[in-house]
C-alpha cells in the first residue's frame, strides 16, 4: 500500500465525480485523451473576456466600450500597431525559449531572469567596449546577451540532470538573483555619472542601439525574433534533434528505452531556452530602453509562459499569441483614459491562463450516462 502511494498510484485511480447513483450521469476520466482539442485556447480567451466583462460592468462601464477601446489602442492606429509589436518581440523570444523547454516537460520559469542577465551582459559591452563601431558593438552585444542567458539556463539544467534538483525551484530563484545583479550594477559600478544619482546605466550611443523603423520604436529585434521562429520550426520538424525532442515529449520512458540521451537534451534545451530569453534582454535594452535600468522588464518572462502555453508550444501560434499579448499590454494602458485602471489587462492575462489550464483538465473528462 505504502509503495503504491509512493509511486503515485492512488492518483491514477479512475476519477468519478458523480454522487452515488443519484444523478443520471457521471463524469469519467478519459486517459486516452492526451491531446487537448484545438479549440481550448480560443474558448479560454473567450471565457476570460467574459469573466472580466463582469468586473468591468461592476465598475459601471460597458465591456464593449472597454474592449473596443483596448483593441483600438493596440491595433487601431499604425502607432498602436508598432507599439504592440515592440511589446511582442520580448514575449515572442521568451515564449519561444519556454516552448522549447516545455516540449520535453522541462518547466523553465526563469525566462525573466535569463532575460535580465542577457540585458546586463549586453550592457557590459557598452561599458567595457564603449568605442566599437555599430556593427561590432551590436554583434558583440548579441553574443554576450545570448551567452549570458544560456549560461543562466545552464545553472538550472545542470542541477536538474546531475543532482535531480527541481528546475521550477532553481529557475524561479535564479530570477531573483538576476534582478539583484541588475540592482547591483545599476546602483553601483555602472551608474550613469551624469544621472543625478538615479540608478541606471548611461544612455547607449547610436552605435549601441538597434536600428529602428522610421520614427517609431519598432526595432530590428522583430526580424531576429521571426528568424528564431522559423529556425525553431525547421529544427523541430526536420532534424533528428527535433524528432528526439518530440519523442521525449510524447513518452519519456519510451524515449529512454530507445536510447535517447535525455539528460543531454535537457541541457541543450535549457541552453536554447536561456539563450533566446537572453536575446530578448539584449534587444530590449538595446532596442527600447537604450539603457540598463530597474523595471527593464515588466514581467515579460512570466507573461511569455502564458503566451507559450496559449500557443500550445506551436511556433506559428506563438507569433499570434505574442502579438495578442503585446496588444493586451498596450491596450491596457489605453483603457485608462476612459477611466479604468490598467490592471484590467493583467486580470485578463491571469484569467486566460486560468481557463487554459482548467481547459486542459476539463476536456479530459467525459460525461457518461448511468451511474
Amino acid at each position: 500500500m505504502s509503495q503504491e502511494k509512493a509511486s503515485g498510484r492512488t492518483l491514477r485511480e479512475p476519477v468519478q465525480l458523480a454522487s452515488g447513483g443519484r444523478l443520471p450521469w457521471r463524469l469519467e476520466y478519459d486517459s486516452s485523451r492526451i491531446r487537448t482539442p484545438w479549440w481550448t485556447p480560443i474558448v479560454s480567451v473567450a471565457l476570460a473576456l467574459l469573466l472580466c466583462a463582469i468586473f468591468i460592468y461592476a465598475n459601471g462601464m460597458s465591456p464593449v466600450t472597454v474592449y473596443s477601446k483596448m483593441f483600438r489602442g493596440a491595433f487601431g492606429t499604425s502607432y498602436g500597431i508598432t507599439e504592440t509589436l515592440v511589446k511582442a518581440i520580448p514575449l515572442l523570444l521568451c515564449g519561444l525559449g519556454i516552448a522549447v523547454a516545455y516540449r520535453i516537460s522541462v518547466w523553465n520559469i526563469g525566462a525573466e531572469g535569463q532575460l535580465t542577465v542577457g540585458a546586463i551582459a549586453a550592457t557590459a559591452v557598452t561599458i567595457y567596449f564603449p568605442n566599437l563601431s555599430g556593427f561590432w558593438s551590436i554583434l558583440l552585444m548579441l553574443i554576450f546577451g545570448i551567452a549570458a542567458g544560456a549560461l543562466w539556463g545552464l545553472f538550472t539544467a545542470i542541477p536538474k540532470t546531475h543532482f535531480g534538483v527541481n528546475e521550477l525551484i532553481t529557475s524561479l530563484m535564479l530570477n531573483y538573483v538576476a534582478l539583484l545583479a541588475l540592482d547591483y550594477v545599476t546602483f553601483g559600478p555602472w551608474k550613469d555619472p551624469k544621472g543625478f544619482n538615479m540608478p541606471g546605466s548611461p544612455v547607449f550611443t547610436d552605435a549601441q542601439s538597434l536600428p529602428v523603423l522610421g520614427g517609431t520604436r519598432l526595432h530590428i529585434g522583430l526580424i531576429l525574433a521571426l528568424v528564431a521562429v522559423v529556425i525553431y520550426y525547421l529544427m523541430i520538424r526536420f532534424t533528428r534533434w527535433g524528432y528526439e525532442l518530440r519523442i521525449i515529449g510524447a513518452n519519456p520512458t519510451a524515449a529512454r528505452y530507445a536510447g535517447i540521451h535525455i539528460k543531454r537534451h535537457i541541457i541543450i534545451v535549457m541552453l536554447i531556452s536561456g539563450g533566446l530569453a537572453g536575446l530578448a534582454g539584449m534587444t530590449e535594452v538595446s532596442g527600447v530602453s537604450h539603457k540598463l535600468m530597474q523595471g527593464l522588464s515588466p514581467g515579460y518572462g512570466y507573461t511569455a509562459i502564458i503566451v507559450a502555453w496559449l500557443a500550445k508550444l506551436n511556433p506559428l501560434g506563438l507569433v499570434v499569441t505574442s502579438v495578442m499579448f503585446g496588444g493586451l499590454i498596450v491596450g491596457g494602458f489605453s483603457v485608462q483614459t476612459i477611466g479604468l485602471p490598467s490592471s484590467i489587462s493583467e486580470m485578463l492575462q491571469g484569467a486566460i491562463l486560468f481557463f487554459l489550464i482548467a481547459g486542459d483538465m476539463v476536456t479530459r473528462f467525459r460525461i457518461r450516462r448511468g451511474a
Binding site: 502607432y79 512570466y302 502555453w309 494602458f333 483614459t337 477611466g339 485602471p341
Partner: protein, 387 residues
C-alpha cells in the same frame, strides 16, 4: 496508465506556474491593502470618463501622467486633488493615466496623450527624458514636467521648495524625540530627496544639536511593503521619530504599531494615525494647475521653470498630530512665519557635510541651483551617500 499520472503531474506543475505568474503580475501592484485611502480613484476615474464625450469647444484638452494611483494617499493623491481643483475652477475635464512606470512605457503613454491633448502634465522625475523626447515630436503640444530640470520650447518644469517644510518638520521632530535619534525613509539618493533630508536634519538640529539621523534608501517612490520594512528597520535601530520621503503613509502606520512618531510626505496623512502623527510637507498643486491651464486657454503659456514655495502656498505644512504639544507647534509656526517673510533661509551657513568638509561658509546662502543639485549629506546624517 503511466500517461495519466503524467497528466496529473503536468497539471500540478501548471497550477504552480499559474501561481507564480499571478504572483509576478501582482508584485508591482500591491497597493490596495496598505494605503487606506482607496475610495478616491474610482470616483476620479468616473469623472474623467465623461470627458471624451463632451465637446470641449475652445477649452484645452488636458492630460496627467501619474507615477502611482490617485489612491496612494500621498504624492499622486495631491496631484489628483490639484487636477480636480483645476477642473472645477475652469470647467474642464482632464484625462489621467495612472501607475505609469518611469521606463520605456512612459514614452508611449506620453506620445499617445500628446496625439489628443493640448497640454500634458508629467508628474514624476523619471519622466524627464521621455517627456523631452515626445515634446520634440509634438511642437504644438505643451508639456509640463514636475521636478525635472530639462526644458524645451514647448516643455516647462514645475516644482516647489518643499525643503522649507521639511525644515519645519525637522523642528517638530527634534523636539519630539526622546533618544535624539531620528529616522528618514528616503526614496532615491537623488538631489530632491537629499536636500529634503538635509533640511529635515538642519531643522531638528536648530532646536536640538545632538540629533543624529539614520537614513534608509528604498529605491522606489511607491511601494508600501518596502516602505514599511524600511520604517521598521529604522525603529529597530533605535530611532523614535521617523519621516518618510515616499508616496504612501506606510511609515506612519509602522510607527503607530511601535508607538513611535512619524510624518510622511506630500499630503496630510494625519488620518492614518492621529496620535502618532507629527506633521509633514504637503503639496498644493491646484492653483498652479489652474493658472497653467488658464494660460494655455489665453495663449500666454511660456516654458518657465516654476518653483513654488511656502510664500505662494504651493508648499505647506500639514496640520499637527494630536500628541504634538502646543509649545512645539508654536515653535514651528514662528519659524514658518520667518521662512515666509524671507528672514529665515534653510541653507544658510555654516553647514558642513558628514565627512567633515565645510560646504556652506557662515553667512553664505546656497542658491536655488546649488540646492537642486545637492549631492552631499549634512553633518548628523549617518552613513555615506550611495554613489
Amino acid at each position: 496508465m503511466k500517461q495519466r499520472g503524467q497528466v496529473f503531474k503536468l497539471s500540478f506543475m501548471l497550477l504552480f506556474v499559474l501561481a507564480i505568474v499571478l504572483a509576478g503580475c501582482g508584485g508591482n501592484n500591491n497597493a490596495g491593502g496598505n494605503t487606506g485611502a482607496s475610495s478616491e480613484p474610482t470616483a476620479a476615474a468616473g469623472d474623467s470618463a465623461g470627458a471624451s464625450a463632451q465637446p470641449s469647444g475652445d477649452k484645452p484638452k488636458v492630460a496627467f501622467v501619474y507615477i502611482g494611483p490617485p489612491g496612494d494617499g500621498g504624492y499622486t493623491y495631491q496631484h489628483d486633488l490639484g487636477r480636480k481643483e483645476m477642473e472645477e475652477k475652469l470647467g474642464i475635464e482632464a484625462h489621467i493615466v495612472e501607475n505609469v512606470p518611469e521606463g520605456p512605457d512612459a514614452e508611449r503613454i506620453i506620445t499617445e496623450l500628446a496625439q489628443s491633448h493640448d497640454i500634458v502634465f508629467t508628474t514624476s522625475f523619471g519622466y524627464m527624458e521621455q517627456t523631452l523626447n515626445v515634446a520634440k515630436k509634438f511642437p504644438n503640444v505643451k508639456f509640463d514636467h514636475a521636478s525635472g530640470f530639462k526644458t524645451a520650447d514647448n516643455m516647462g518644469t514645475y516644482f516647489g521648495k518643499n525643503y522649507q517644510a521639511s525644515y519645519l518638520t525637522g523642528i517638530a521632530a527634534g523636539k519630539m524625540t526622546k533618544k535624539n535619534h531620528l529616522g528618514y525613509v528616503g526614496a532615491f539618493p537623488i538631489s530632491e530627496v537629499i536636500y529634503n533630508l538635509n533640511a529635515f536634519t538642519l531643522g531638528a538640529q536648530s532646536v536640538n544639536p545632538d540629533i543624529k539621523v539614520d537614513v534608509v534608501w528604498t529605491n522606489t517612490w511607491y511601494d508600501p511593503t518596502t516602505e514599511r520594512q524600511a520604517a521598521i528597520s529604522l525603529l529597530d535601530k533605535g530611532a523614535d521619530v521617523l519621516l518618510a520621503y515616499q508616496d504612501s503613509p506606510a511609515t506612519i502606520q509602522a510607527a503607530k504599531e511601535r508607538g513611535a512618531f512619524a510624518g510622511g510626505n506630500d499630503s496630510d496623512m494625519k488620518k492614518f494615525a492621529p496620535d502618532n502623527y507629527l506633521t509633514n510637507p504637503v503639496w498644493n498643486w491646484g492653483p498652479y494647475y489652474t493658472k497653467t491651464v488658464q494660460s494655455v486657454m489665453d495663449g500666454t503659456w511660456k516654458n518657465e521653470q516654476y518653483s513654488g514655495d511656502m510664500a505662494d502656498g504651493m508648499v505647506d505644512l500639514a496640520p499637527f498630530g494630536n500628541k504634538v504639544p502646543e509649545d512645539v507647534q508654536k515653535l514651528v509656526e514662528d519659524a514658518k512665519a520667518k521662512i515666509i517673510s524671507g528672514e529665515l533661509n534653510v541653507f544658510t551657513g555654516p553647514i558642513s557635510d558628514n565627512q567633515g568638509n565645510e560646504k556652506v561658509p557662515a553667512g553664505k546662502t546656497l542658491t536655488l541651483e546649488e540646492v537642486l543639485g545637492m549631492d552631499w549629506l549634512v553633518n548628523g546624517v549617518i552613513g555615506p551617500l550611495p554613489k
